[in-house]
Subunit: 281 residues, 2 copies
Amino acid sequence: MKLHLDCIPCFMEQALRAGRMATSDEKQIKQILDKTGEMIKTVSMQSTAPEIGKIIYSIVSNVTGNQDPYKSIKQRHIKETKDIYPELEKIVANSKDKLLTAIRIAIAGNVIDLGVKKSFDIVKDVKSILKQEFAVLDYSIFKSQLEKTESILYIGDNVGESVFDKILIKELRKSVKYAVRSIPIINDVTWEDAIASGLDEVAELIDSGCKSPGVILDQSTPEFLKIFNKSDLVISKGQGNFEGLSDCNRQVFFLLKAKCPIISNHLEVAEGSIILKEHKS
Amino acid sequence: MKLHLDCIPCFMEQALRAGRMATSDEKQIKQILDKTGEMIKTVSMQSTAPEIGKIIYSIVSNVTGNQDPYKSIKQRHIKETKDIYPELEKIVANSKDKLLTAIRIAIAGNVIDLGVKKSFDIVKDVKSILKQEFAVLDYSIFKSQLEKTESILYIGDNVGESVFDKILIKELRKSVKYAVRSIPIINDVTWEDAIASGLDEVAELIDSGCKSPGVILDQSTPEFLKIFNKSDLVISKGQGNFEGLSDCNRQVFFLLKAKCPIISNHLEVAEGSIILKEHKS
């Protein structure tokens, strides 16, 4: 998905938000905004948002020296999501359609996104998403694909959400590879975070090779690309991966909550919608 | 009032909004964003927002060649406000405290601000502001100052709001000079707009010398400065003039609706509050 002009002021907001997360030094934050502002003229409207996100968060790291500004907040989100994990497992076990309920829970986790402006309340939002209607629900196609599937690539998004991904992965009952970011970027799930989330107990962890808040195939490792192309089923979580992969040449199932007006418009759904969408090759 | 870091992403939003108002050519709008982004590093945090606003809107004019992107919308707002003017005059005439009601109407007009993100509905907003409690109301000081006043300087803000200013100016029952911007900037009131609003019937129009969306004393004409310093009473309308004048060395009565979180915080009021505030010298 290509950039929209509205993404540009949003980049400045992201830079400010990440800057404040990384430091309390207002001069450094102003430097981050200066460098982000200067970078705008180099941005092609043919880029995707994760490509620019990568540049912004590297500016934040370079200026502040803080390589993982979201570290403590990620730890808190893992704790909070693990606290409600047993209750959510029970909800899945007691539901009529266990797979669909697990999908809902995995999408509910997608509210934990610190790259967007919206605030959230994990427990409250999960409960409301369990009742929310899907705006796009390609469930029968997903189920039929899942039945004939041996290998699944599951591309992670945010930390905390990752704990809920575990619930869905268990429910998929197939061999799953879980792809993580190569470095800390916003609150996206890295190898270390995936282990802290307990994902190594249910999936084989793989490094996407991406240092951006969303998979960019051109920047992925050859190993990841091979898995991406060969897997029977690919599940992509969240907005960043959607922005990176929405024009790719294979079938992908996108699971996300549409939290920004540009993505909602692109998907032709209302802001806040939950989505399970098949992208065809 | 000095800049806040949050003003910087807001500048990019203003550039985008004004760019879209001036042209539908996306490449030109991108150029406006590029130039605005590049300008950020030259911005001192000791500046005021109107100083930066002036630069942004000159970028918009230079890139698009459109010197008055808000022209047709300003004409529409004058028509809409003139349509409800007779009704508002009746409300003043029938009210217990005519002056206070006229002040409320003048503040109500301050919703017509195209420099901020909020949308508005003139008729609906006026009616609700007529009932809204003031968050700051230095009314007795204002009245006592008005009683001993011979000369008033009234600094205008937005077009449309200007039509409502006429109601207050009539109710002040003193000699009033009404200051306008020197050139079209956002939807701020210029000489031409003041005449279209009928302000020349109740006040002497004067040019502030300012090409910014808010008075900046350093950039005003000597004639304006003399009037500013010598007038018995100065009334400043809106956020832009507040940002420009909140640190000045004379008494000013600020009449505004606090529409942005930075200004609300600065004034220690909730967003959306209406205010009549005495600034002491």
